[in-house]
């Protein structure tokens, strides 16, 4: 175990966790944006329809 093991573990955890979460969030976040914009679009169309009626 390297000298000052606490900071070594925290540093290793940061590099591994951050690399993993970046890739994961990059995929999942893109899907979230797509769904969010689709929901907003649907709401906009529904409200426009209600206003016409």
């Amino acid at each position: 175990m390297p000298h000052h093991w606490f900071w070594w573990i925290v540093t290793a955890a940061c590099v591994v966790w951050y690399s993993t979460i970046t890739v994961y969030v990059a995929f999942k976040g893109a899907k979230d944006i797509k769904n969010m914009l689709a929901r907003l679009d649907a709401t906009k169309k529904r409200e426009a329809g209600e206003a016409q009626n």
């Binding site: 000052h4 925290v10 951050y18 999942k28 976040g29 893109a30 969010m36 709401t43």
Partner: protein, 490 residues
């Protein structure tokens, strides 16, 4: 000399700016109401929330002060990050404060206060939130500019022009698309920023090496470089102040809370907090490592804030340099856009509330929100250019943030969990919380009181603010006659 290559690195940066601006402008068509503009129609999901929260809370300014902490305090300088991660994980898991806040369906924290403490307290809370937030954000531009100028090896005379152009670009997509543009650009910025941070950290760990970094900290700071409690510049008062500051920030920092309020439901808001919490360790430790590497490579320097960018300008090769600058621009742009939108939301929703006797049309509301963001941008340019920063950057941000963090966190906890809390306590807490940090900042600037400010120090002043603000809430609330409380509730 710097390794920045205008053709290769400049193209990477240019491409990044083009894609971000295009994405920010594309979503403006979805903004039809004030609710879309301020909280993205409350349609944000978990992973977009994680990306947005992480990108917002990491700007160039963050990178600069955390690297300065690493340079000046060694590994112990990452202590605030660990404390913030713990606070965020606990709040996310338990839903402490954020659950009742999100359940209330409000757009800002002061809006919740009106239901309990009345309209005047909502207004006063809005004023201190904006005051603390804008003073805090005031130093972002210059510090960000310092980093970019040093890393890219540009003439310092271009700093103002470059940062003005960057702010104008950010303001354009924020003004047009509000929170929707902020979320979409935050996502892109999170990906670019993270890639840059990870690659540069790996490069530093490989080139400088773990053993050399540990040896440098040991030689420069001894055991205090690893343990904040025995570091002569930190001690228990630093840890306690940072614990209070970070817990209050997790509960009430408007840019952080904005993600909970924009979440599609309360459970999503809590998940965003829990799953982002460890990022706050990375947020302090990764640039902290860059600061330690600068200490190991450059040795002692006159300006510790500039040590890290000076080191990176020669340590990072061309190609990666473009990714680093794009990453830092991404970090800065996401922070600026979110902060401008957040303080705008408080000005519009709470400070201007008394002027809206009748509800405004959505069109008029959007117009005013956009105008406020433009004014915030102008303020940032002016304030950022003349305020002379004294002491270390993290402490300045802590002191200015405390102006509102202390009282608003007390008000929020009391509002959610203490039935006896009332407007007298809330008013007293806001007054005490603003008075102490503002007095400290003024004392720091005046030649006649600068020594007194030094002898008190920012940590004791900060701790006193949190303790006295809580005491003011309790005493003020207990002093208010029960009769007037009954009248109020009737």
């Amino acid at each position: 000399m710097t390794n920045f290559n205008w053709l290769l690195d400049g193209s990477i940066v240019g491409l990044y700016l083009l894609v971000t601006m295009a994405a920010g402008l594309m979503v403006r068509k979805y903004v039809g109401k004030v609710e879309h503009f301020l909280v993205a129609g409350r349609e944000m999901d978990v992973y977009l929330g994680i990306a947005s929260l992480a990108a917002t809370e990491f700007g160039i300014v963050t990178c600069m002060y955390t690297a300065q902490n690493g340079y000046e305090k060694g590994f112990a300088g990452a202590t605030p990050g660990i404390l913030m991660a713990l606070a965020m994980a606990v709040v996310g898991m338990t839903g402490f404060v954020i659950k009742p806040l999100r359940d209330a369906g409000v757009m800002t924290i002061p809006e919740l206060f009106e239901q309990r403490f009345g309209q005047r307290i909502r207004w006063a809370a809005g004023v201190v939130i904006v005051l603390g937030g804008l003073l805090n954000m005031g130093v972002f531009l210059r510090t960000g500019g310092q980093f970019l100028v040093l890393v890219a090896g540009l003439d310092v005379k271009y700093l103002e022009i470059m940062m003005t152009a960057l702010l104008v670009g950010v303001a354009i997509y924020t003004i047009l698309g509000g929170m929707l543009s902020v979320l979409v650009t935050d996502f892109l910025q999170f990906v670019v920023m993270s890639a840059g941070l990870i690659l540069v950290t790996i490069l530093i760990l490989v080139n400088v090496g773990w053993e050399k970094m540990v040896m440098t900290v040991e030689t420069s700071y001894g055991a205090g470089g690893f343990n904040p409690f025995i570091n002569p510049t930190m001690g228990w008062q630093y840890v306690l102040f940072n614990l209070m500051l970070n817990t209050a920030a997790v509960l009430t920092w408007q840019t952080t809370i904005a993600r909970v309020l924009a979440a599609k439901d309360t459970a999503t808001g809590q998940k965003v907090y829990t799953r982002t919490s460890f990022f706050f360790v990375c947020r302090f430790l990764i640039p902290g490592l860059w600061g330690i590497a600068a200490l190991a490579t450059l040795g002692p320097v006159a300006n510790t804030l500039e040590a890290m960018p000076r080191y990176l300008s020669t340590a990072v090769p061309a190609g990666l340099m473009g990714i680093l600058i794009a990453a830092m621009l991404a970090a800065d742009m996401s922070t600026d856009s979110s902060y401008m939108l957040t303080w705008c939301s408080v000005i519009y929703n709470d400070i201007m509330a008394p002027f809206r006797k009748k509800p405004w049309s959505e069109k008029k509301g959007l117009f005013w929100n956009r105008t406020i963001i433009a004014f915030i941008g102008i303020f940032l340019l002016l304030y950022g250019l003349w305020y002379p920063l004294k002491g270390d950057l993290w402490t300045y941000l802590g002191v200015t943030g405390t102006i509102y963090l202390a009282s608003i966190s007390m008000l929020l906890i009391a509002c959610c969990y203490w039935k006896r809390a009332n407007s007298w306590g809330a008013g007293a807490s806001i007054f005490v919380s603003a008075l102490i940090p503002v007095s400290y900042l003024v004392m720091e600037q005046l030649p006649s009181t600068v020594q007194l400010a030094k002898s008190i120090g920012p940590y004791y002043s900060g701790i006193a603010t949190y303790v006295l603000s809580a005491a003011a809430m309790v005493v003020g609330s207990l002093l208010k006659p029960q009769q007037s409380l009954r009248k109020e509730s009737a």
